[in-house]
Subunit: 187 residues, 2 copies
DNA sequence: ATCTATGTATACAGATCTGTATACTTAAAT
DNA sequence: ATTTAAGTATACAGATCTGTATACATAGAT
């Protein structure tokens, strides 16, 4: 029994390549070469490249939110602290050498039509991140958890774009300072 | 003398297609068909697709910032008003049926490497937008124009992403409400 | 009027893309 | 032991991609 199933190897390698080089720029041949599988194996598990892309985006959502929530909860003790430690978790992410922005923002750039299933998954991911923040805000006892989560989420998105497009690795700290203002106003 | 030179036609059509469908997904053949020119004409003006992409991004920067500054200054009377009317100008942009996010964020998604010239132009565009905000902040007499422009810029970026990825067409208004807090704190 | 620059139309080279087909191998289950 | 499922390796079809080549047309400037 291998550590990773063939299917998992394909998704894992495709995730790396799609994230680093983009979706349209990454060919199937490159993916199977890096994953070390035959082309037929890939098409045995996924009936098309688009299906693989959907599977990769679902995997990324799972991995990203799990890591983000784990780090946020490790960096902040109380729910209210965690409203700010989200930004610290993002700061750590921005420092990673492989950081090239948010995969879902990037995917939305290549698949712009909102009705495209590949775009819908991106919107869904963003909704789940915002709902996590809303849960924290509710636990913290904020007066309007939805409004606060909307505000903090918008700051996070701005920081991600600043960090990637402009290479501003301090964007998360700047966003955190701004977030403090809204957290303080929310109680 | 035609209304648009061949070169301008090519750039104009390429801009529409690149913006709507992405850079890698848009082929040269499609561009020349829409522009109504021969392939040799395109390669007479641009020595490669990459050069055309650079020319398109420069043109987009010019058109976008001109329009944004014009609308901002039409919607706001004083420099301080204009620090907020930027968000109104963005709101109008988000309502356009053809809106599919910021072309520079989208380009950065496809050309992730920061040293890629196509990425550099995106960073440069973002710098120029932020400098415009900084100028307004300076004219308005803000205590720390650079810090304020950094804050407002981050809010704008967040709104653009929210509007495109999540389809939240009210993102600019939400960002504007947040911006008011920082503008009020800045004097 | 003739030369030059610029354009059109089209074919094509060579690479790369997605997806399928073929033939062989291997390992597990009955 | 034999069947079945899943994998490998490779070739290939058919489309599309960037960029070049060829042959011809046209309009302006000298």
């Amino acid at each position: 029994m291998p550590i990773l199933s063939k299917r998992e190897s394909i998704i894992s390698q495709a995730l790396k390549l799609f994230y680093q080089h983009g979706f349209n720029a990454t060919g199937i041949d490159r993916i199977i070469a890096e994953a070390g599988v035959a082309k037929k194996t890939l098409y045995n598990h996924f009936k098309s490249k688009d299906e693989l892309i959907l599977a990769v985006l679902r995997k990324r959502d799972e991995l990203f939110r799990n890591k983000m929530m784990r780090e946020t909860e490790s960096l902040g003790k109380t729910p209210r602290d965690r409203l700010l430690s989200i930004f610290e978790a993002h700061h750590l992410w921005f420092q990673e050498p492989s950081f090239v922005g948010c995969m879902f923002i990037n995917a939305s750039a290549e698949f712009s039509a909102p009705e495209d299933p590949r775009h819908s998954i991106c919107a869904e991911h963003k909704r789940l991140v915002r709902e996590y923040i809303q849960d924290l805000a509710k636990q913290a006892g904020a007066e309007n958890p939805e409004a606060l989560s909307q505000q903090l989420n918008l700051l996070l998105e701005g920081a991600i774009v600043e960090a990637h497009v402009s290479g501003n690795k301090e964007a998360a700290n700047q966003a955190k300072a701004m977030a403090k203002v809204f957290v303080n106003l929310a109680f």
